[in-house]
């Protein structure tokens, strides 16, 4: 049976406009690392999905994928290839057999220089192009240049901007400055959506991650994102717990829903499922769709394809049976 997959909206209808900086709230953040780690450790053991349910969850993971290439040797050639894969993440026969005709990833994510190439490759589709920005990955460039970079990417056709925050502002407790910085990024984005990368691996403590997440949301982030993929520690489930709980807290108190994007180090089907389980458990079903959930990754797609192929055939496939991104 073949049914076309309805691609949901890429972004929520009502954007988070941000709120005034509430320092009392920021300082109230309490994170108990050991307790968070205990919860994270059982996230994938308390819940599991099998058989057709697992297949459905994996197809959903594909829909939420920000298919990414962020390498010094990126060229128009490999970016075009990535875009082709983004539009056809599954081999046609699998698409048919799974009843997932028309499935595509959530977005393509590239450096600014490759934005025009990606926009061109995806023209005629509404698949968004995301650009990493603001001196990605370290963010150690002057603010005006950061703002200029955002505007340039938006002009080039990027509809999502993945910015990096200045980690020094977190490490020195300069919450006002961080708020102002992200506010400025948001304004520079205009209609493009703002994903703020807190670079959790650089923030030293989970409490810093929680406080930084909150400040970014107050400043108007559409998404908060764990990592650049370039820190020594990338997306971990404990960090994910802290950030999703911050999102929940923010939604409960303000009514605005902010999305979440774990990124970096997500390579296996099992990891993708764990992240989905975390979203369902901590934030609920609404946060399982690409308007509020993205997974920043690339190689995970091949592993998901292998798993889906096993589901369809009962046999383990070789990587070279799947079109490479």
């Amino acid at each position: 049976m073949v049914t076309a997959v309805r691609q949901p909206a890429a972004m929520p209808e009502i954007r988070n406009p941000g709120i005034a900086l509430d320092l009392d709230w920021v300082r109230e953040v309490r994170i108990n690392r050991s307790a968070v780690e205990r919860r994270a450790a059982t996230m994938g053991t308390r819940r599991t999905v099998k058989k057709q349910w697992q297949a459905a969850w994996l197809l959903n993971a594909i829909r939420c994928l920000d298919l990414t290439t962020l390498a010094g040797d990126d060229t128009p050639g490999n970016v075009r290839r990535l875009c082709a894969k983004a539009l056809h993440p599954l081999r046609q026969d699998m698409e048919d057999d799974l009843g997932a005709v028309g499935i595509r990833v959530g977005a393509v994510c590239v450096y600014h220089n490759l934005v025009p190439v990606a926009v061109d490759a995806l023209s005629g589709t509404d698949l968004p192009v995301a650009a990493v920005s603001t001196g990605f990955p370290a963010g150690q460039i002057p603010l005006p240049i950061k703002l200029d970079e955002i505007r340039t990417s938006v002009r080039a056709g990027a509809s999502e901007i993945d910015i990096v925050i200045s980690r020094s502002l977190v490490l020195t407790g300069s919450w006002r400055a961080l708020y102002d910085e992200v506010r400025a990024f948001r304004e520079a984005c205009g209609d493009a959506h703002l994903k703020t990368i807190v670079a959790s691996g650089d923030l030293a403590t989970l409490r810093n991650v929680g406080m930084a997440s909150l400040v970014c949301m107050m400043a108007g982030a559409d998404f908060i994102k764990t990592s650049t993929g370039k820190e020594s520690v990338n997306a971990t489930l404990p960090v994910g717990l802290v950030m999703t709980r911050a999102i929940r807290d923010y939604a409960e108190r303000t009514g605005f829903r902010v999305g979440f994007k774990p990124a970096g180090g997500i390579r296996t089907t099992k990891q993708a499922l764990e992240w989905e389980i975390l979203m369902k458990e901590e934030l609920g079903d609404d946060w399982l769709h690409p308007d509020l959930f993205r997974i920043g990754a690339s190689s995970v797609l091949t592993d998901i394809e292998r798993q889906l192929s096993y589901f369809l055939t009962g046999r383990y496939a070789a990587d070279h049976h799947f079109p490479m991104p």
Binding site: R30, S34, T48, A56, D285
Partner: protein
């Protein structure tokens, strides 16, 4: 097979663990199990069997044998025969057997887990990830203690045949907690699993066979309470170890009173879960899940009383309700289920009726919107708010997935509410302020306190109760003493030398003295208004002491209760006072020697030696006051796990008849050195050495109420003390009848007892073994778990 559409809501779907291996194993035994006695499987002599149900379906899984008197006899005899050689094996040999058991459990871990979930109804996630790994860990850990017993515990020996009775909530884990330390310390066992859940114990019997343990070292007999009674009253059993309800624990205490059986009891609880306003509330919510919805809440240490600071109460309760809505209940063999089945209809009914009572008493009940499965025995997670401490559901152990919530305003009120229970098994304290958490952890009366965590278990950390949650510890170094006893002593010095009593000098009579009672730091007249004449060795009247009665005991206990500050004082302070007592006693050495001689007719030299030894004993416990250290356990968590000896509280000490001064000093010095307050009853025959001490106590800066002395008819006074619920422990040294009475009466509040027949040599021991014994009997171990990491 296709996925027709990605649903807008992603559901989990069924994720069943295969039950076939468990069902196959049962089928291999024709679904009928015998008794494992002396290394063989046999049918019960009475031919009686009972059904074992699957709580998730209500249908029978198998039938198991009801062990009768003959079977229990055979099991005890087999254990007795095996004990002779097992206890004499080198520790290394026993270590090899325990290691083999650990490896066997690991090799068959999934079968154990599946069987456990089939039989008990607990989610496979828990049996697979918690119960069975902890079982293996327990055998590994105790293999180590078997290896080290001889070097680490010289002067100790095995107890003998141990009867072990375990509950249905953690069937195999409780078996491991019982069997591993018993075997490690050279005992042999007769173990009875609960009649609801015998299957994993029976599989364990096969594992014992396969591991090649000598026949009779482990005997597994099944049956209901009748079998348990036979074990408890069996004269061939040297020790009973029981985990279960306080109600049954009380019966066991009374049954074994005066039998000389060693006893350890791990009983019920109503453990507080204390949340301060600066806690990580989202983590608290997960803690609550682990506290009360772990194993359907059928956990003796379940955090069943949520005490939350008023300022965050509403926020926390909202979070908890939201979380409850997401819990999944259902087939225990489903890998994505949080709550399985309640073990049996009787337990389900008990939960239902207590919840009903809670509603009737005016508490607000909340349950998630989803429904439980129709077949099998299920009960939804339940939250009660608007609960007062007076409500039944706030006091009674429900042993089900039911949480009651109350609020507090200040740390002091949190502690008061936490301790407002007859139980004292465990507690959980949540705050990001380490000063506050440790302060509260110290003040809560419970054997285990988890800081910012809950229901963490490990073989290296002793688990057990304060108050009516029982006594004895399981796990850790502290748990081993339940399965060892001091070896027969050699080299005890005889203190007695026959001698002529001193002639009383004729002439001017001595000034008349009136020894009253010593209560609350004052000498007070006995309530009765009577005095008892005390005669010397030659029958002459040498004094009169007050005849204490129950009101005097009541007053003495009140005075001791009021002297709470002593328990919070530092060892260094207590040491100074004990030294000072020794100094003041020494100044009056001749007088005390004379009095001993006058009362007992022993020679002056001999009496002087008793005084010397009494002074030395005061020095000994002055020395120990700041040296009986706790331990930091090596648990496999990023946690500082502190095992801390704490005073028991108010202790009654009924002194031995002989050795009027040394005996008396011995029973008060250790308890007060450890911070207890004491109500002491001197030798009935020779009380004057104790009454003479009043002035020593008064001049030694001992705070009022720390030592209270009630003279009078020992049996009557002791029985009032043993039955007093504000007395936390009692030491008694006397005759068989007295031991029996004291042990039986102690069941009222399950106070700890150390009661023995008069053993004069014990008090003359100078070996360190006596010190350690006295110190252990003067303290209870609290394990505080402090996870760290920012």
């Amino acid at each position: 097979m296709t996925v027709t559409e990605i649903p807008s809501q992603l559901e989990y779907g069924p994720a069943p663990e295969s039950r076939e291996p468990g069902i196959d194993w049962i089928a291999q035994h024709d679904a009928r199990f015998g008794l494992f006695i002396n290394g063989h499987w046999s049918a019960p002599e009475g031919g009686e069997y009972f059904d074992v149900l699957n709580p998730a379906t209500g249908l029978p899984l198998a039938s198991a044998a009801e062990a009768g008197p003959h079977d229990v006899d055979a099991a005890v005899e087999s254990a007795r025969n095996a004990f002779a050689s097992w206890s004499q094996l080198p520790g290394h040999t026993r270590a090899r057997y325990l290691y083999a058991l650990a490896r066997q459990v690991q090799r068959h871990s999934r079968l154990f887990a599946v069987l456990e979930s089939l039989d008990n109804g607990k989610p496979i996630r828990e049996s697979r990830d918690i119960d069975i790994p902890l079982v293996a860990r327990h055998f590994y850990y105790h293999a180590g203690w078997a290896q080290l017993m001889h070097t680490e515990f010289p002067g100790y020996e095995s107890v003998g045949v141990v009867g072990q009775i375990i509950p249905w909530n953690f069937p195999l884990l409780m078996l491991a907690w019982k069997i591993a330390p018993a075997l490690a310390m050279g005992n042999t066992v007769v173990l009875k699993p609960a009649e609801f859940t015998p299957l994993t114990a029976l599989l364990f019997g096969e594992v014992v066979e396969r591991a090649g343990l000598p026949p009779g070292v482990v005997n597994i007999i099944t049956g209901d309470g009748r079998t348990g009674e036979l074990m408890v009253s069996h004269p061939g059993v040297d020790k009973i170890a029981f985990t279960g309800s306080t109600e049954v624990g009380r019966i066991i205490r009374r049954t074994t009173a005066g039998s000389g059986k060693k006893l350890s009891l791990e009983l019920g609880g109503k453990s507080p879960f204390v949340v301060f306003d600066d806690a990580d509330l989202d983590s608290v919510v997960e803690g609550v899940v682990d506290a009360i919805w772990f194993n359907q809440g059928q956990v003796c240490c379940a955090g069943s009383r949520l005490l939350v600071q008023e300022s965050v109460e509403e926020r926390l309760l909202a979070k908890i309700r939201a979380r409850m809505e997401r819990l999944r209940i259902g087939d225990p063999l489903d890998k994505a289920v949080d709550i399985g089945a309640i073990v049996a209809p009787v337990q389900l009914q008990k939960i239902q009726s207590l919840v009903q009572q809670g509603v009737e008493e005016g508490a607000e009940m909340w349950q998630p919107s989803w429904a439980c499965p129709q077949e099998g025995f299920f009960y939804p997670p339940t939250l009660f708010t608007n609960v007062s401490p007076a409500a039944t559901i706030a006091q009674v152990e429900i042993f089900g997935p039911v949480l009651v919530s109350m609020s507090f305003r200040t740390p002091a009120e949190a502690v008061a509410l936490a301790n407002n229970t007859p139980y004292g098994l465990a507690a959980s304290v949540w705050s990001e302020n380490i000063n506050l958490t440790l302060d509260v952890a110290r003040q809560i009366k419970a054997g285990t306190v988890w800081v910012n965590s809950t229901n963490l278990f490990d073989a290296a950390s002793g688990f057990g109760g304060y108050r009516e949650s029982g006594y004895g510890r399981e796990g850790g170094r502290e748990g081993l003493f339940e399965y060892m006893k001091p070896a027969p002593r050699e080299g005890a010095i005889s203190g007695e030398t026959a001698g002529e009593p001193d002639a009383t000098a004729p002439g001017v009579p001595p000034i008349d003295r009136t020894p009253k009672l010593f209560i609350g730091g004052k000498q007070v007249r006995p309530d009765s208004g009577y005095s008892t004449v005390i005669r010397g060795a030659s029958g002459q009247v040498i004094g009169e002491v007050g005849t204490g009665n129950r009101k005097d005991v009541r007053n003495a206990v009140e005075a001791a209760q009021a002297a709470r500050a002593w328990s919070d004082s530092f060892g260094h302070q207590r040491a100074q006072i004990l030294y000072y007592m020794a100094e003041n006693l020494s100044a009056r050495q001749d007088e005390f020697a004379g009095r001993i001689s006058l009362q007992t007719g022993r020679s002056r030299d001999d009496a002087a030696e008793e005084v010397d030894r009494s002074i030395e004993r005061l020095f000994t416990f002055a020395a120990w006051a700041d040296k009986f250290d706790g331990l930091v356990h090596h648990t496999p968590f990023r946690t500082i796990s502190i095992a801390m000896p704490e005073p028991i509280g108010v202790m009654a000490a009924v002194a031995p008849r002989e050795l009027p001064l040394l005996g008396f000093i011995s029973v008060i010095a250790s308890p007060i050195s450890m911070g207890n307050r004491v109500v002491a009853v001197p030798s009935e025959a020779y009380p004057l050495s104790a009454t003479d001490l009043y002035q020593v106590l008064e001049t030694s800066d001992l705070p009022a109420g720390v030592v209270n002395i009630v003279t009078g008819p020992r049996a009557a006074v002791a029985s009032v003390l043993a039955a007093h619920d504000n007395v936390d422990a009692i030491w008694y040294f006397g005759d068989d009848q007295g031991v029996r009475d004291v042990e039986a009466a102690s069941a009222g509040n399950m106070k700890r007892t150390w009661a023995h027949q008069e053993d004069r040599d014990l008090w003359l021991l100078t070996a360190s073994g006596l010190d350690e014994l006295l110190l252990r009997e003067s303290t209870q171990v609290k394990n505080i778990w402090v996870p760290y990491g920012e």
